[in-house]
Amino acid sequence: MKKILCLTLTLLMVLSAFGSLTAGAEGYDKVVYAYATFNNIPTAEVLDTIEEKINSVTRDLINVEVELKPISIWEYDSKVSLALQGGEQIDVFQTLGNLNVAIASDMCYDITDLIPTCAPEAAELVGEDWLKACSFQGSVWGIPTLKPIALTPMVIYRKDLAEELGLDMTQINSVFDLTDTLRAVKEAHPEITPVAAVNAGNIGLQLTVENVDYLTDDYYAPKGVLMNDEMKVIDFYATEEFKAICQLARTWYNEGLVMRDAATTSSTAAELMSTGNYFCYIASYSYPEEDTAASLQAQSGNYPIGAKIVSGAFLDTTAINALTWCVASTSKVPEAALKFLNLTYANSDVVNTLIYGIEGRDYVMKDDGTVNYPDGFDSTTVPYTAQLSCGTLGNFFLMYPMEGTNPDSLAWEQDQNKNAKTSAALGFTYDNSRVKTAYTAVTNVIEQYLPALVCGSVDPEVDIPEFTQRLQDAGLQTIIDSKQAQLDAWLAENGK
């Protein structure tokens, strides 16, 4: 054992010697930018051309050369984490819904003091409130992606069926209005299941509960929330609202109005709709009704699709900081990194090159300012595209719209961002590092009960009491108490 220790120590010394090998070429600061992509990963040669194109802008503007690291979405978290732990250079990265964890484990650089000098445009664009959503203990740790974030719950339904049966969908203002409509569909078309699942364990009901601040928890596993603007942290699963949702789901389930396998299905809503065996599903979107419907039509087997808003959008900290861009705490060039990050919000060339690649080769610009892939190519065959990442990189509103999108919707989206109801605790970020044990136990209990409850496959009268009891056993109260304490401190600090 002693020998092994000795060997390890020697190696570590060698390691630290390697540590200082990150100098940029010709006096430019080298910034490594790691971003998640849903598209194919380009080859190294293609990536070089993209970097060169971006560098031609950044060299003059901010004296920076960038190295791009596109990473497949599913491995993004683990690869970035591994690289940072391994002492590799990554200067800018994004968090996918876990900013509070990133802050707690020192992944992010405190950029509070750098923002005025290095990222004034980005700060200006996202606004003070949004930056607050990325703050913790008085410091700013990241800049949220600027995009339509107000998710509005909607019913996405088959227009042709609704018309055939004379159903007036405009009268549907909440999911509770929906039951009779579903019954009518079921009666006229027994072969059709009225409601499809959005994805496994989710038929969309839970997010229709209005005015819930999830206090930086995962939306699908809340542990202690604020409701109706009261600053008291409560157990979401013990509320009447939650019970009502579960009972609604149960009614649907018992009457055969919702798919039976919703809790474990391996298909998504659009796939299910395209079979023609379903009437509608409930999900949240950030586009206006008509645009949402239009954009979903192609994926849904080209049945005529309609959309109706059934609940209001609500902005809490998570809604804003779900996708946040951070400078790595290990970065040796934090200022340059932040300057580059700033350009992804402020410089149209930079962000559009990141998304669409090089004009002519990867995309073509139409006369109306929209873009599309060159003739004979699509997203899987062009040398470079990260088009599907459009809502996750920098400033969405600077990106060229794809051909076929409605320019008016941008205005609606910006409006929604501004006018959506916001939580009074917007900006509060919860640090769960003191209650990790309770967290793991509670998460497991939620995974066990929640999907079946919100999909109606179990009786809420029996299961909710059991569920809440198990949550208490697992330590939910500890989490709620610690949340309340942190929230109170935050409120006092912010003079609320």
Binding site: L7, D106, D217, M259, T264, Y449
Partner: protein, 312 residues
């Protein structure tokens, strides 16, 4: 060289041999040192409150805090029980079935059929768990699955919603395990049988022993040491479970947790959001440590009864 060998036969038999034997083992030893032993400094993580800024060595010590979540709730009992029982079932049934298959394959005695059977039985091992999950779903889903739609319909049984009925799952999981690994594992036994001195069988045949008797009295006992070796190795990993089998195959269905939750799935679900480096290191260390204690004990037991077959 000859001189050394002769000299060694007289007196310093073992001493003289160490050198050359060590030389043969050396490349392997070096590889294990680098690949397996050097990175072991990573176990420190289990006792650290990990900070990306400070790195593995700079982070603060936190004692046994990272281990707490493994024992905190009554889930600890369920997941430990499940992990142990499934592994026990896999060891016993897996061994019996693989040996059974191996004997059948060996006794075929005809090359072409050996090829076809062996090749086909191995195929499931090449499918990823995600795909296996799809297959199982194709059989068991409530609306369009085979079992409900074809088999139960034909026999007049009532449809079962499989993914919310825990009862049959231990059997389903064992079946899936056997389906995936039995063919590949049987190959080990086929090769062991192939190594048995054939003259033993011939002598038995001359004595008039039936094929069945030969199998029970010669083949099976000859497999003993392989079985012991493999079992000891499995015991070392008895606190680990195949994540895909227990997560993907039951489609992560909460209703089934009582029979599908293992240590690995619990850790995965619990840390999904927390993403905590120290806690996952702690879980792995805990699993290894228990396996280590058990295997050392089991090995000591084997050594006592039958020293030839001890693992070390």
């Amino acid at each position: 060289m000859t001189a050394i060998a002769k000299k060694s036969r007289k007196g310093k038999y073992k001493l003289a041999k160490t050198g050359p034997l060590m030389m043969i083992a050396l490349p392997g030893i070096i590889y294990l040192l680098i690949n397996n032993y050097l990175p072991m400094f990573g176990v420190f993580l289990a006792f650290k409150d990990y900070s990306y800024m400070r790195g593995i060595f700079g982070s603060k010590w936190c004692g046994l805090d990272n281990f707490e979540f493994l024992f905190a709730t009554k889930d600890a009992w369920i997941m430990t029980r499940n992990t142990l029982l499934y592994n026990a079932a896999f060891i016993v049934l897996g061994t019996v079935c693989s040996i059974f298959l191996a004997i059948l394959i060996y006794e075929l005695g005809e090359k072409r059929r050996v090829k076809i059977f062996q090749g086909s039985l191995m195929l499931p091992n090449l499918l990823s768990w995600v795909v296996v999950g799809f297959i199982v779903y194709a059989f068991l889903n409530a609306d369009t699955g085979f079992v409900n739609n074809t088999i139960l319909k034909a026999t007049g049984g009532a449809p079962v919603s499989w993914y919310s009925t825990p009862g049959p799952w231990p059997w389903i999981l064992i079946l899936v395990y056997l389906w995936k690994f039995m063919g590949t594992n049987s190959i080990i036994y086929v090769s062991t049988i192939a190594g048995i001195d054939k003259s033993i069988f011939e002598a038995a045949q001359l004595d008039g022993a039936s094929k069945w008797k030969q199998i029970m009295l010669i083949t099976v006992p000859m497999l003993k040491s392989t079985v012991i070796t493999l079992t000891l190795m499995s015991i070392g990993r008895i606190f680990y479970s195949d994540f895909g089998l227990f997560y993907q195959v039951p489609q992560n269905s909460g209703r089934l947790f009582d029979v599908t939750q293992t240590i690995d799935t619990y850790v995965y679900r619990g840390l999904m959001e927390l993403n905590d480096v120290g806690m996952s290191a702690a879980a792995a260390l805990y699993q290894s440590l228990v396996g280590f204690i058990l295997v050392v004990a089991a090995n000591a037991l084997v050594r006592k009864i039958d020293s030839e077959n001890a693992l070390f």
